[in-house]
């Protein structure tokens, strides 16, 4: 990918985007070229670059909307599909695209792709260690739980081997478990006792008479998450591109970032609103683009990124992720007529009257409604050339 110095300088100096410069380097490296040929190529590239600029007044919004909407008919409806990882289900196709445009608070299948830091990413065991810190592990995975109906107890015998393997001390589990039952599961009607020697934990319900309470307690004890992050139900470790990557079912960006060994610069979630909350609106915008592009590409549909960028920018313009639809962009437009023509017609008109709204008739729908040329494309040109008469 290197060019002779004299060419390299000229390429670098040219007013071209980085991508085009890289392409020139790529296609011309290791080729015998003469000065004239090089000049010809560079001139042609610059000329073509100038000719591919977008023209003023172009209705880029409509083009973007059509470019995303039109292939929608070709997408599959099959909600569940295995994308890359056979173990984890992900919503794909049209339902996923709709989900992205709807700016849902929670996607139907939240997942994360967790990348690891340099010392962890090449070693399967170390990657596994990180995964234990992330995957929600209920108490019953760490030992035997018996319900003692005679004494109204729920007894947990921790298996120290498992604890060792999972890199968590029994003491820690015994400390965390009761607290978590109270905080996360909102169940408080019990008492507990810790026996550090035998590594056993004994729970007893406050109401010693009710077996129902005992079983309820037993269920809570079984399911309480003592290691990992509650929202992340499953973690799969896979080797991809020479490094170990964790795929998760469930998403909690903030807590995953706190886990040691996680590469916070590359780790991502498919939950866009979480992205916005944790990383900010610019990250959310990039997440929308990334998610939409991968959804479309997975279906084998070619769509220029610029269209998706425009949609993402429109959705994120106000500083929070806005839905494409009546609860978002379309419902907050300036123009009364435009809103009325979209959805919930009557309410918009009634509210406009009370608020004494004024429709400036700047948008497309409004002008179509009143029967005027729209302010886009050829309708936007206000300059008329006056022909110079020779005589």
């Amino acid at each position: 990918m290197t060019l002779p110095e004299k060419y390299e300088k000229k390429v670098e100096a040219a007013d071209l985007p980085v991508k085009t410069k890289d392409q020139i380097r790529k296609f011309l490296s290791e080729k015998e070229i003469t000065d004239t040929k090089f000049k010809q190529i560079l001139d042609r590239v610059i000329k073509e670059y100038k000719s591919t600029r977008i023209e003023p007044c172009e209705a880029v919004g409509v083009i973007a909307a059509q470019s995303i909407g039109e292939p929608g008919t070709q997408m599959t409806m099959r909600t569940f599909h295995y994308a890359g990882v056979a173990e984890i289900n992900v919503t794909l196709g049209l339902p996923r695209l709709i989900e992205i445009m709807d700016a849902r608070k929670e996607p139907s299948t939240p997942t994360m792709t967790v990348f690891l830091e340099a010392d962890y990413r090449n070693d399967r065991d170390r990657a596994r260690e990180v995964s234990w810190q992330i995957e929600a592990a209920p108490l019953h995975e760490f030992g035997d739980i018996t319900t003692d109906m005679e004494n109204m107890h729920v007894v947990v015998h921790l298996n120290t081997k498992v604890c060792d393997k999972r890199k968590i001390s029994p003491d820690e589990i015994m400390e965390v478990a009761p607290k978590k039952i109270k905080d996360r599961r909102h169940y408080r009607d019990f008492e507990h006792a810790i026996d550090e020697e035998k590594a056993t934990l004994t729970f007893s319900p406050k109401d010693k008479e009710s077996y129902q309470n005992l079983f309820q307690l037993a269920e809570h004890v079984r399911k309480v998450v003592v290691q990992g992050i509650d929202d992340i139900l499953r973690v799969v470790v896979r080797k991809e591109g020479g490094e170990y990557i964790l795929y998760t079912e469930g998403s909690n960006l903030k807590d995953v970032f706190d886990v040691a060994g996680v590469d916070t610069t590359r780790t991502r979630t498919n939950n866009i609103s979480e992205c916005a909350n944790v990383l900010g609106i610019e990250a959310a915008r990039n997440a929308i683009i990334f998610e939409a592009v991968s959804t479309l590409n997975e279906q084998g549909i070619l769509v220029d990124v610029r269209h998706l960028m425009l949609v993402a920018d429109m959705m994120c313009m106000e500083g929070e992720v806005k839905q494409i639809g009546r609860h978002g962009i379309a419902g907050e437009k300036e123009s009364v007529l435009s809103r009325a023509a979209f959805e919930v017609t009557v309410n918009h008109l009634l509210d406009a009257a009370v608020a004494n709204e004024v429709d400036e008739l700047s948008g497309v729908t409004e002008n179509v409604i009143v029967g005027q040329p729209i302010q886009l494309g050829t309708g936007d040109v206000k300059l008329i050339a006056v022909r110079q008469h020779d005589n």
């Binding site: 985007p17 991508k19 085009t20 392409q23 296609f27 080729k31 190529i41 073509e48 670059y49 000719s51 591919t52 977008i54 023209e55 003023p56 007044c57 209705a59 880029v60 409509v62 973007a64 909307a65 059509q66 470019s67 909407g69 997408m75 099959r78 056979a86 173990e87 049209l94 445009m101 499953r234 070619l302 220029d304 990124v305 610029r306 269209h307 425009l310 949609v311 920018d313 494409i324 639809g325 009364v336 007529l337 009325a340 009557v346 309410n347 008109l349 009370v354 608020a355 004494n356 004024v358 429709d359 400036e360 008739l361 948008g363 497309v364 409004e366 179509v368 409604i369 029967g371 886009l376």
Partner: protein, 880 residues
């Protein structure tokens, strides 16, 4: 043409009772419409002052005829005020946030400032109900407030505590109105009513009701001569009747109970007059039981005033008929039936330059006898806008009268620009401008190469044609909308117009490997292209000149085309053998000569079209269109040269292959049984994160999928390029090897929601199987091929799988349609400003540079700002 007036803005506000009375031309007091003679009652609902709908009568207000009078409002004086249903939420809010005795907002100025913001910084929210605590004491007059209850649709009441018991005390609209009147103007501003002079809250309680003009609610006369009134008129009749009765009772001093009942009835009628779909209110019905369509219903929904009538305009000068293919047309053209061409017209202004021509056109009259006859005209228009119809008898007289300044509405003729469209119009290429070619027959004809942008086929599709009427429209049609300008799709920056189906098969058969054609054969192939000269023959044997197949194709390429790429038939071998590729998939074009490789979908197909793409960038749109025209014509000749067909015996395999297929399927079935055995013995190791059952299902699917592919391979070994289906699959014309596998080998697993078919009663899919059976046959694996035929259970499973596909498509179209509507609505106002930023039409900046680099996706090379590869190839004349 006079320059059109531009509407600057539209302001919304409430009508005050004063305004309603001022704009009214007549007070309406009679519920009746017409008397026995069919004449409208004065001061009735059809009063002649309100405008006229019957032809012949004149409006008493403006003295114009039915067609000119726009109609005028009247009014009804209501006996008592009633609430406007649309504003019940506003009324509730106002009642709850203002004082019941002094009318001030129940917050101190400091508290208001906290919510709304200071005078300089009005960035806060509007006051809402939540900002005022219930039952507090008014900070202005110190009066104790009461809780306000609201019951749908229009009942308000105060909760009074009497002797420790809560008693609801009903508020009449008159009470509410009195309270609204007390709210001072300055207190309304933080509540969202910015201009109290145009929208006082008490105006939401109606004391006068405007009566819309009759033009808005015309009555229709049925066949039997009876008049049938509009729904709105019916509703107004009800209102006036109750109103009159109410007044009479009031004047007679009727008991309070009756008055209240009548008041409620009046409220009901006014409510349903505004909106007949209010929650908690039975809809008013027509005599026949059909709910009435009142004001709200007229505006709402897809066929309502906004979406149906205002946003969707109807047009003249359009036509619609079935489409059919004609490969001999250019993609630029559209074949128009003579009957259509004789009906659709273009107005031409008569000048001294064209007067003779137009006189002749007028003389030709309204009937064009055959497609080659010169075009005629249907009407001529005099400068005073009078239209003269051309008919058999008056042709010469009218033609002689024509002078400069007249307009002749002439028929369509060859070369006219028309817009052509197929619904659903999902993208801008769904409407393109074509040139007319008048033809016999009754269908629109188009070159099959333009089917992809319209997504059209010829199984009965219909398309629309529109004729632009002004020079401006025609200019835009030719420069911006023509087919030529729309070859590149803005979606991905590649050609969307190109060869399909037989074009690809034909060009593949022509260019594959090497063949030699004698002169007459070569000329037969190239007859319909635009070439003028044959190249020198490729070889001469025994005095006979021969041209190679690649030479024949090269003839239609531009002279300086240089490019290298892999054809669709390329298998992506690890080491490319380039020119020596045994599949002839390495395409190399040197200075406009096809040196090696086969031309197929990748080269000329719609959506791929490498050659088309390169020609557009190097030679321009016009040359590319010519290339597509030549290519379609050449390929159709090429496919006719050898002939191309497919029959049932093309799916035949030999005995050995059938044996092998049977063997494969048997092994697969055994393998499945073996795995089931392992599972039943509890020996199956589950995959991480999956249950044992899921793991088994996945394994079975995998085994059976592999088995099907294997049968396909066996069938493929027997069927070579000599088989039409294989040729179509390899060239990319239609179908895939999978389709062939299913025809000749084995159809494979049928699925519902991506899983094997498991539905059924009593633990089995069909009574033909044992309960709980997990084998391949019992869950929808079809061993047979389409040719071999399915057994009854297989047929049933196939129907299940097929039905899922149909449901899927039906659901998808509605969902993606709605997504597109939302996207369009959200983005339609965006444009690139002259400074390169993307802005809404209101001026808000969305992007500082379009797409971060200002590149037009349409002109981009599949997303890249510059097609560097193409430029390097064309200058260095070697693979980049």
């Amino acid at each position: 043409m006079p320059s059109p007036k531009r509407i600057g803005q539209i302001e919304f506000g409430l009508l005050s009772p004063k305004e309603i009375r001022e704009m009214s031309v007549r007070k309406i007091i009679w519920a009746d419409t017409y008397d026995d003679d069919g004449f409208p009652y004065p001061q009735g609902l059809m009063d002649l002052n309100l405008g006229v709908i019957d032809p012949g009568l004149r409006c008493k207000t403006c003295d114009q005829k039915a067609s000119e009078c726009p109609g005028h409002f009247g009014h009804i004086e209501l006996a008592k005020p009633v609430i406007h249903v649309g504003y019940t939420r506003l009324i509730r809010k106002l009642l709850r946030v203002t004082c019941r005795s002094c009318g001030r907002v129940l917050l101190s100025p400091e508290e208001i400032e906290k919510v709304v913001g200071t005078e300089d910084d009005q960035t806060g929210d509007l006051l809402s109900e939540k900002d005022v605590k219930k039952e507090r004491i008014c900070p202005h007059c110190g009066d104790q407030q009461l809780k306000i209850n609201f019951e749908k649709p229009t009942t308000f009441s105060e909760v009074v505590v009497e002797e420790g018991k809560k008693v609801e005390h009903k508020l009449t609209p008159a009470d509410i109105r009195a309270r609204m009147e007390k709210i001072p103007d300055e207190d309304l501003i933080p509540l969202g009513i910015k201009r109290p002079d145009v929208a006082r809250p008490e105006w939401t309680i109606l004391t006068v009701l405007p009566v819309p003009p009759v033009t808005m609610r015309p009555s229709i006369i049925l066949e039997n001569g009876q008049r049938s009134e509009d729904d709105l008129t019916h509703k107004l009749v009800d209102i006036i009747r109750i109103n009159q009765r109410f007044k009479e009772n009031q004047d007679a001093g009727a008991p309070q109970l009756i008055i209240e009942d009548l008041w409620e009835l009046l409220q009901y009628h006014v409510t349903t007059y505004m909106d007949n779909e209010v929650a908690g209110c039975p809809p008013a019905r027509h005599r026949s039981g059909r709910p009435l369509k009142t004001l709200s219903q007229r505006l709402k929904g897809k066929d309502g005033r906004f979406r149906g009538s205002l946003s969707g305009k109807r047009v003249n000068f359009s036509s619609r008929t079935v489409i059919s293919p004609d490969p001999n047309l250019s993609v630029r053209q559209v074949g128009v039936p003579r009957a259509v061409a004789n009906e659709m017209t273009i107005p031409v202004r008569v000048t001294i330059h064209n007067i003779e021509e137009l006189k002749q056109i007028a003389r030709n009259g309204p009937v064009r006898p055959d497609v080659n006859a010169p075009c005629g005209a249907n009407y001529v228009i005099r400068p005073d806008a009078r239209r003269l119809r051309l008919a058999e008898g008056n042709l010469d007289t009218v033609a002689d009268m024509i002078e400069p300044g007249w307009t002749v509405e002439r028929h369509l003729r060859d070369g006219d620009v028309v817009l052509f469209n197929r619904q659903p119009s999902l993208h801008r290429m769904s409407i393109m401008a074509h040139r007319v070619k008048v033809m016999e027959g009754k269908t629109f004809r188009l070159n099959p190469a333009v089917c992809p942008p319209y997504n059209a086929d010829f199984d009965g599709d219909e398309m629309n044609m529109h004729v632009p009427q002004t020079e401006e429209a025609r200019a835009e049609a030719t420069i911006l909308i023509s087919v030529q300008e729309n070859i590149l799709s803005p979606r991905f920056g590649g050609p969307i117009i190109g060869g399909i189906h037989d074009h690809v098969s034909g060009i593949f058969m022509l260019t594959h490997d090497t063949r030699w054609f004698k002169k007459e054969e070569a000329l037969y192939l190239l007859r319909y292209t635009r070439i003028e000269r044959m190249p020198a023959p490729g070889k001469v044997e025994e005095g006979i000149e021969y041209w190679s197949n690649k030479q024949v194709f090269s003839v239609i390429l531009p002279e300086h085309l240089n490019m290298v790429f892999q054809a669709s038939s390329c298998q992506n071998c690890d080491v490319c053998k380039k020119e020596l590729c045994e599949r002839d998939a390495y395409v190399r074009i040197f200075d406009g000569i096809l040196e090696s490789g086969t031309i197929d979908k990748k080269a000329i197909g719609a959506f791929d079209g490498q050659i088309v793409n390169r020609i557009i960038r190097q030679e321009g749109m016009s040359r590319a269109t010519d290339f597509i025209d030549d290519m379609t014509k050449l390929s159709i000749r090429a496919i006719m040269f050898d002939g191309f067909s497919f029959g049932i015996d093309d799916e035949d395999l030999s005995r050995t292959e059938y044996g092998q297929i049977e063997e494969v399927l048997k092994n697969a079935s055994l393998d499945v049984d073996r795995r089931i055995k392992i599972y039943e013995d509890g020996q199956l190791e589950p995959m991480p994160g999956r249950t044992v059952e899921e793991t088994l299902e996945m394994q079975i699917m995998q085994v059976l999928g592999k088995a099907r592919d294997l049968t396909g391979e066996i069938a493929g070994r027997h069927l070579g390029l000599g088989n039409s289906a294989v040729l179509m699959a390899v060239s990319g014309a239609r179908g895939s090897m999978l389709n062939l596998t299913q025809m000749a080998g084995c159809i494979g697993q049928q699925s519902v929601r991506g899983e094997r078919i498991v539905r059924g009663y009593d633990d089995r899919t069909l009574p033909h199987f044992r309960k709980g059976e997990r084998g391949s046959d019992a869950h929808g694996f079809i061993q047979h091929s389409y040719k071999g035929g399915l057994n009854p259970t297989e047929f049933f499973f196939h129907a299940i799988g097929g039905r899922e596909g149909l449901v899927d498509t039906a659901v998808r179209t509605s969902q993606s349609g709605y997504l597109q509507r939302r996207l369009i609505n959200a983005l339609q106002d965006l444009k690139v400003a002259y400074d390169g930023t993307v802005r809404t039409t209101g001026g808000r900046i969305i992007q500082f540079e379009y797409g971060e680099d200002g590149t037009d996706p349409t002109k981009s090379a599949f997303g890249d700002p510059v097609d560097v590869k193409g430029i390097v190839e064309s200058i260095l004349k070697e693979a980049a």
